[in-house]
């Protein structure tokens, strides 16, 4: 106790001044757009650690000293919630961001049809649960102050702490009306405080452990009973406390504020999912050793102050001071955030509705609602902290306050059924939530809250003992004769049990209104929704001017202008106010909801846009569950069928491409092979020519061969060029009317040179003047090719070629039939392949490109070339060429 009051006071003031400084600098940087580390997931995680109040900092050790390991449950519950972040917290954050939720009261009211009554109810309950909790923080600061500085005036200390926090919160917590706009200065200060309290607790823990000689030495000679705390420690109370703390991390207004409302990036949750449990683990690491050391060295001391008194007793004033600042940080950060959260609720759900009512009577344009609401928020911060101070005063700093942590948890746990039911169950109705909440709150107050005053408030000691009017069944701690339970478990079973039951039963028997169903669908199906699809106003009475005036009054002149410009641009208007379409009004309402809450925003817009808000048919389209499910599954089926089709097409294309690829490779190797043969003979013959001793006759012969081989090469290259152009479709063939008879005659003339040498009989077709549509040269080329093949490959002793021509189906069919045996059926399919030669073909007879080229030419001209078989199984070629239109 050697620290003087003056020094302590100076340090306190310096610390608070530092917090103000940090908040101020950060706010200024943020207003200039410099966020850097402010938007990091680590800062987000640290801000969630407002969960660890002075009730943790001092109280955890006290709890460990009294009840053993039970204190851990308070941190295991949140750990489990964060481990399962993907299912609950992610949904809450997504909903919060999509609907611009400003508080837990706003979320519940918004889900159940933007109900103002629900909002007021939740606000009231949050206020009742938060006020004693704030008083608890003031008490712990006062007590720790007294422990360090000797007997100081507790009232004065508590008052100045409350006042200082009020100033801080008003300065940095009410910069803007929009609750979704992060309070950067506040968040930064809280992050710093989070580090201070963790560091302080770890420092005290390390000091205590190593002061005793080490971790194992602490536990030497300590009976396990003392560490564990009672035989029944892992019983119903263990499970209840874990459940309760898990509930609190979601339902406490301040936790909802930092986790959901102030979240700037959903991905931060992924980091917080393990970092926040790690933070809690760090806070808990040395609790048990400190408690044991406290019991052993200060058996008469207050366990709730061991963190502070252990270093003091060891004469370590510096460490005691650090511990004091840690506790101070825990208390102040909780008070700041709780005040912001509750004041937002009060101003949005209590003051704003009154203001709207006044707005109806007064001038539409007069009065800046924005500054009115900001003032309301500032006043409510002062009121909330004032109530906390008053509560602290009235309860006289009694020990009863220490129990208030769990009592507050149980109070806010009443939000759980409506909250979970609201985001996972479409069938939940406003009436169900309302009745459940009211019953839960009443039972909580009767079985837990009021008895905690021990006869000091409303319920007398006698009533708590024997029940009101001596009716045993109504004893607050053994309601309906339910005995044998821990008072906390008893209270929770009654309040939360009846709450949930009423919520479910009433929800099932009541009908939800249209807006409720719409909101319910949007909340439950948040991951399948695209926002802004909700058309919920009859637009006929809304005028853009009125809406603009309203927006200006809530958002401020400049932000309203920006919002309307943006909407107008999205509607495709260059200038002027946007059209008051249903989508535009829904968007505006959502923006306003970020400032005044969903219920108030709905009421305000409704007042301007007319009070017949919902088209039932639209609603059925949007919100009807079956309809939506059918639609979703239909879309899914369609999508998967589409995908399947695309996959099949891709597979086919792939196979085709692979085959083509292989064919191309084969083609290339064949081409090089074909080119190689003449090239080889040209090379070797030219070598012979170059030799001196070759006699002139041979030279002559060799030169002749070289000449014919190079001609063959040229022809081959021409053919390859032809076929690649034909196949690529780049060769254009000019079509003209051609006399078929003449073409056949000309082809026969060309081939006649060959036929004369081989003495072949040719039967010509009897053809009347028939005009076909073709390219004369190309048609002749095809016919010559076919005829020369028929001549070349004919091994019959009396070779004969029979040509017929007859029109059929707008085509002229020219058949080239020879008696040379033709092509066996097995080879029929391959004759049109490149470089294929009939099995009977000799070696020096062309590269095997003639038929594929001919077919390609015919197809380019709109005809075809095919191999056919007579009934006697001999093959012949059939040329089809389109008849010219007459």
């Amino acid at each position: 106790m050697s620290l003087s009051v003056d020094v302590l006071l100076a340090i306190c003031i310096a610390y608070v001044a530092a917090l103000f400084g940090i908040a101020f600098i950060v706010d200024r940087r943020a207003s200039r757009g410099q966020f850097s580390w402010l938007r990091s997931p680590v800062v987000y995680t640290l801000s969630i650690s407002v969960y660890c109040t002075s009730w943790t900092f001092y109280g955890a050790v006290g709890s460990a000293a009294r009840n053993g390991l039970e204190f851990i449950t308070i941190y295991l519950g949140p750990t489990l919630v964060f481990v399962g972040w993907f299912w609950l917290l992610r949904k809450l954050v997504r909903i919060g961001r999509a609907h611009r939720i400003t508080s837990i009261a706003d979320l519940i009211s918004s889900r159940y049809g933007k109900s103002p009554s629900l909002a007021v109810l939740v606000t009231l309950m949050a206020l009742i649960a938060t006020t004693p909790y704030i008083a608890l923080q003031l008490q712990s600061v006062t007590r720790s102050y007294q422990a360090v500085a000797g007997d100081a005036d507790s009232t004065a200390t508590a008052f100045w702490v409350a006042a200082g926090m009020a100033v801080f919160t008003i300065l940095f917590g009410t910069r803007s009306l929009d609750a979704n706009e992060r309070h950067h200065g506040v968040v930064a200060a809280i992050a710093v405080e989070a580090i201070v309290k963790l560091f302080a607790l770890l420092a005290v823990g390390i000091f205590v452990v190593w002061g005793a000689g080490g971790l194992t030495e602490i536990f030497d000679e300590v009976p396990a009973e003392l560490v564990y705390g009672g035989e029944e420690i892992f019983g119903p109370r263990w499970a209840t406390l874990t459940f309760l703390s898990a509930t609190a991390i979601i339902c406490l207004p301040r936790q909802f504020q930092v986790t959901v409302v102030e979240n700037v990036d959903e991905r931060h949750l992924a980091t917080a999912s393990w970092l926040f449990p790690l933070y809690l683990l760090g806070m808990c690491l040395f609790i048990v050793p400190i408690a044991i050391a406290g019991i052993q060295t200060l058996p008469d001391g207050n366990p709730d102050l061991y963190v502070l008194t252990l270093p003091l007793a060891a004469g370590r004033d510096d460490l005691a001071l650090l511990a004091f600042l840690g506790g101070f940080s825990s208390a102040t950060s909780m008070v700041i955030v709780a005040a912001i959260a509750v004041s937002t609720m009060v101003s949005n759900h209590v003051v704003a509705p009154v203001a709207i009512r006044l707005m109806a009577t007064g001038h539409e344009t007069s009065g800046d609602l924005r500054s009115l609401l900001l003032t309301a928020r500032r006043v409510s911060i002062a009121v909330v902290l004032g109530l906390g101070f008053l509560y602290f005063q009235l309860s006289g700093g009694s020990d009863a306050l220490a129990a208030i942590g769990l009592i507050a948890f149980a109070g806010v746990a009443q939000f759980l059924p409506s909250l979970l039911g609201g985001i996972f169950w479409r069938g939940a109705t406003r009436m169900g939530a309302l009745v459940g909440l009211v019953l839960g709150a009443l039972l909580w107050a009767y079985t837990l809250f009021l008895p905690s005053f021990d006869g000091g408030f409303l319920l007398s000691k006698d009533m708590i003992q024997n029940g009101p009017w001596g009716i045993e069944m109504l004893r607050p701690r053994a309601l309906m004769g339910l005995t044998g339970l821990d008072p906390l478990v008893h209270a929770l079973v009654w309040s939360l049990g009846i709450n949930a039951l009423a919520f479910l039963v009433i929800s099932v028997v009541t009908e939800s209104g249209p807006l409720e169903r719409l909101q319910g669908a949007q909340f439950v199906d948040i991951f399948r929704m695209d926002m802004g699809s909700a058309a919920n106003f009859d637009t006929s009475r809304a005028s853009a001017e009125d809406l603009f005036i309203l927006a200006q009054r809530i958002l401020g002149r400049e932000p309203a202008r920006r919002l309307f410009d943006e909407i107008a641009k999205r509607q495709g208007q260059a200038t002027g106010l946007p059209m008051p379409t249903p989508a535009m009004i829904a968007r505006l309402e959502r923006e306003l909801a970020g400032s005044v809450g969903a219920a108030s925003a709905h009421a305000m817009v409704g007042r301007v846009a007319g009070q017949a808000p919902i088209g039932v048919t639209e609603l059925i389209d949007i919100a009807d569950e079956t309809q939506r499910l059918i639609e979703t599954s239909r879309q899914l089926t369609q999508k998967s069928a589409e995908l399947e089709r695309a996959a099949r097409q891709l597979r086919d294309a792939n196979t085709r491409l692979t085959t083509l690829d292989a064919q191309k490779d084969e083609f290339l190797s064949q081409v090089s092979h074909e080119l190689r043969t003449p090239m080889t003979s040209i090379r070797s013959l030219s070598e012979l020519l170059a030799e001196e001793e070759t006699d002139p006759a041979d030279r002559q012969r060799f030169a002749g061969i070289i000449h014919s081989e190079s001609q063959r090469l040229t022809r081959l290259l021409d053919e390859i060029l032809d076929i690649s152009r034909l196949e690529a479709g780049t060769m254009t063939v000019a079509l003209e009317p051609v006399d078929a008879g003449q073409a056949i005659e000309a082809a026969l003339d060309t081939v006649s040179g060959m036929t004369r040498t081989q003495d072949i009989r040719i039967q010509r077709p009897e053809l009347e003047a028939t005009t076909v549509r073709a390219n004369d040269d190309r048609l002749r080329q095809v016919l010559i090719n076919l005829l020369s093949n028929a001549v070349k490959y004919n091994t019959h002793p009396e070779p004969e070629i029979n040509l017929t021509a007859s029109p059929r189906n707008q085509m002229l069919e020219i058949d080239v039939i020879d008696n040379g045996g033709g092509v066996p059926r097995t080879e029929a399919a391959t004759v049109f392949e490149k470089f294929a030669r009939g099995s009977g073909a000799g070696t020096n007879q062309g590269a095997g490109l003639g038929l594929p080229i001919s077919r390609a030419i015919m197809r380019t001209m709109g005809g075809d070339l095919s191999i056919e078989f007579t009934p006697e199984n001999s093959s012949f070629f059939r040329v089809r060429v389109p008849l010219a239109e007459v």
């Binding site: 399962g84 993907f86 396990a224 560490v227 263990w238 393990w274 690491l285």
Partner: protein
């Protein structure tokens, strides 16, 4: 080109499968956490035994706790990626 396209689609299907797997794992971690930290399992070490000189249950609770943190941190990134975030 085509080959890479089919590969892409295969990857997509593989990704879906992987996402499902990640979610399953995360859920099992949660269930394990609840089972291991709740009675009756939480009390199985409630004996006067020491592990490395420390009370057995204390060590057990902190180990389970640390294990949960470790598992969650390993899954966090993959879980976040398995979800399509809303356009902001």
């Amino acid at each position: 080109m085509m080959r890479s396209l089919t590969k892409l689609m295969d990857d997509r299907a593989g990704q879906d499968r992987k996402n499902r797997k990640t979610r399953d794992r995360a859920f099992i971690v949660l269930i394990m956490g609840i089972v291991l930290l709740m009675p009756p399992l939480a009390g199985i070490f409630q004996i006067d035994a020491r592990i490395l000189g420390l009370p057995a249950t204390l060590v057990y609770l902190f180990l389970v706790w640390a294990g949960l943190i470790l598992a969650t941190s390993m899954l966090a990134r993959a879980l976040m990626r398995s979800d399509t975030p809303p356009e902001s």
